[in-house]
């Protein structure tokens, strides 16, 4: 067990787990409470288009993912805010188009492409020091913004109309949130892969909101839970030689089912 930590890649992986869990717990809570799960899934999958294009043009795939993920965030955010109908259709279509762009550009790229799979399914063991720095920057940004706007974010998540009447910058806050979702997607991409981001983003917050009745506390518990899922899943995958991203997600999914059952039989739980 201890000798695991002597491996640099293992230390990086665990560190990535910590850094991702911070942002994931905080933003995941807002995503779940504001019912933006679908849009987050859309952003995550669309980001693959950026990865594919970056490969083709020979630039850093993370950069491609950042650009695509932010573009997708703004576009989907705009669709969700402005279009009165068929938002889910539009978001679903963008989701698939983003992936298709990624696949086509991967086809067009000559040479070895196995690395592309790591962006889809995650490769927490391949996290570099540069990745860790990027994650730290995103964490600081997310934590700073959420602390600065906590009460306004809470208010507009709970009751947007009232917040608007109080002249709170509801649209600006939405833009901030959707930008943060785009950034968090990129950092989670390394850990569980674009395809499974949606689960790690939402499961901890979903469990938290089963048992807790305050947004701050849910954020805290979600952070702890996603740390448990990433590092627990990582260890399980190491010992049984499984894909780390999928193991993390199955661990989280199993915990969610257990939480639902526990909640069902828990009479003293606040939301029972």
């Amino acid at each position: 067990m201890v000798e695991l930590l002597s491996y640099g890649f293992m230390r990086n992986a665990l560190m990535a787990g910590v850094l991702v869990s911070l942002a994931c717990g905080i933003i995941g809570t807002l995503v779940v409470l504001k019912r933006m799960v679908f849009i987050s899934g859309g952003v995550a999958h669309t980001a693959y288009g950026g990865v594919g294009m970056a490969f083709y043009f020979g630039v850093n795939p993370v950069l491609g993912a950042v650009v695509f993920s932010l573009l997708a965030s703004f576009l989907m955010g705009y669709v969700q805010r402005q279009t009165r109908q068929r938002q889910d259709t539009l978001i679903g279509v963008m989701w698939a188009i983003g992936m298709a762009i990624g696949i086509i550009f991967a086809d067009l790229t000559p040479g070895y492409k196995a690395d592309l799979m790591s962006y889809l399914f995650g490769s927490i063991l391949a996290v570099t020091n540069a990745d860790l720095w990027l994650m730290l920057v995103i964490d600081l940004l997310v934590i700073g913004l959420v602390i600065a706007f906590y009460k306004e974010l809470q208010a507009s998540a709970f009751d947007e109309t009232f917040s608007r009447v109080r002249n709170l910058p509801v649209d600006f806050l939405y833009l901030v949130l959707i930008t943060m979702i785009g950034l968090v997607v990129v950092m989670m991409m390394r850990v569980v892969g674009l395809i499974m981001i949606i689960a790690l983003l939402t499961v901890p917050a979903a469990i938290g909101s089963l048992f807790l009745k305050d947004m701050k506390h849910i954020m805290g518990l979600s952070t702890v839970l996603s740390l448990v899922f990433t590092s627990g899943g990582l260890l399980i995958s190491y010992f049984f030689n499984l894909t780390s991203g999928a193991t993390i997600i199955l661990f989280a999914g199993g915990a969610y089912l257990a939480a639902l059952v526990l909640h069902r039989f828990c009479r003293r739980c606040p939301n029972a």
Partner: protein, 282 residues
């Protein structure tokens, strides 16, 4: 800075409803909201036609009308959430976006996510937020106001409970406390007694009556015609057009114009008048 009623702390209790301290701005007759020749609609369909309507300080207006008659649309326009197609509107002499800070808004029940994890205290604290106070923490004065408003609606003992543990009537009183925490000149409620049991309903109306007596003007949309006519001061009927005469009685013609179905009318607590049943239209 805040309205006069903040300076007085004690309130005497009468029955279930705690009475608020008297304010100084009682029933001076100035116009708070003015609407002239206003038209509004969505996607080319007219919802409001040629609305002329003023709200005087101290009034308690009950706004009735059939579903789809434009009641919620009118509230949205007053709150600056929807732009009218034509016409003029002023709220406290300003554009709705600037004047709405003086409106304490109690949205429709159905607009809320009943699962949202938030404490009663945090809901009412929302009333202390405003666009001008970004980056500023709420202070002890805000906390005192929050507790006081919760006391007014008799929900202070539930302050630290989760909103989702409360009954419909209790929640509605929390939303009223939140609206009062904004120190409003006008309280605007959209069907405040929907999905609330009969007993809570009476309690809410008594509460609104008391609030109005303290000098806060009220505009309330309601379906609860029999009950509202015993609490409100004036009644408006809205069915695309507004029928409003600054009176507490609904005239037969107002009613005919506003509704297509026979409704029993009771005005001001007494069985006042029952309209003759008229033919169902179409």
């Amino acid at each position: 800075m805040h309205s006069a009623n903040n300076h007085i702390t004690a309130g005497k209790q009468t029955g279930d409803i705690k009475f608020m301290p008297q304010t100084f701005q009682k029933s001076s007759n100035s116009t708070l909201i003015e609407i002239e020749n206003l038209h509004a609609g969505y996607n080319g369909e007219a919802v409001l036609q040629d609305i002329n309507f003023t709200i005087q300080e101290g009034d308690f207006i009950g706004l009735i009308g059939p579903n789809g008659g434009g009641k919620t649309t009118l509230l949205k326009i007053i709150l600056g959430l929807l732009t009218p197609k034509k016409g003029r509107i002023s709220v406290m002499g300003k554009l709705p976006q600037d004047g709405r800070q003086h409106i304490g808004y109690v949205p429709q029940f159905a607009d809320f996510d009943s699962d949202f994890p938030i404490s009663v205290r945090d809901v009412v604290r929302m009333g202390r937020l405003s666009g001008k106070r970004l980056f500023k923490r709420l202070n002890t004065e805000d906390d005192a106001i929050v507790e006081e408003r919760l006391d007014w609606v008799d929900m202070r003992d539930h302050m630290d409970r989760s909103l989702k543990e409360l009954s419909g009537g209790q929640r509605q009183r929390v939303y009223i406390a939140r609206a009062l925490a904004t120190d409003p000149k006008i309280l605007m409620l959209d069907e405040p007694t929907n999905s609330v049991d009969y007993e809570s309903r009476t309690k809410i109306y008594d509460l609104l009556h008391t609030i109005n007596e303290q000098g806060i003007t009220i505009l309330m949309v309601s379906h609860d015609l029999n009950v509202i006519s015993s609490y409100v001061k004036t009644i408006g009927c809205l069915n695309r057009q507004m029928h409003y005469h600054s009176e507490k009685e609904i005239t037969a013609e107002m009613f005919n114009a506003a509704y297509d179905c026979p409704v029993e009318l009771i005005a001001h607590g007494l069985p006042h008048r029952v309209l003759a049943e008229h033919k169902e239209a179409r």
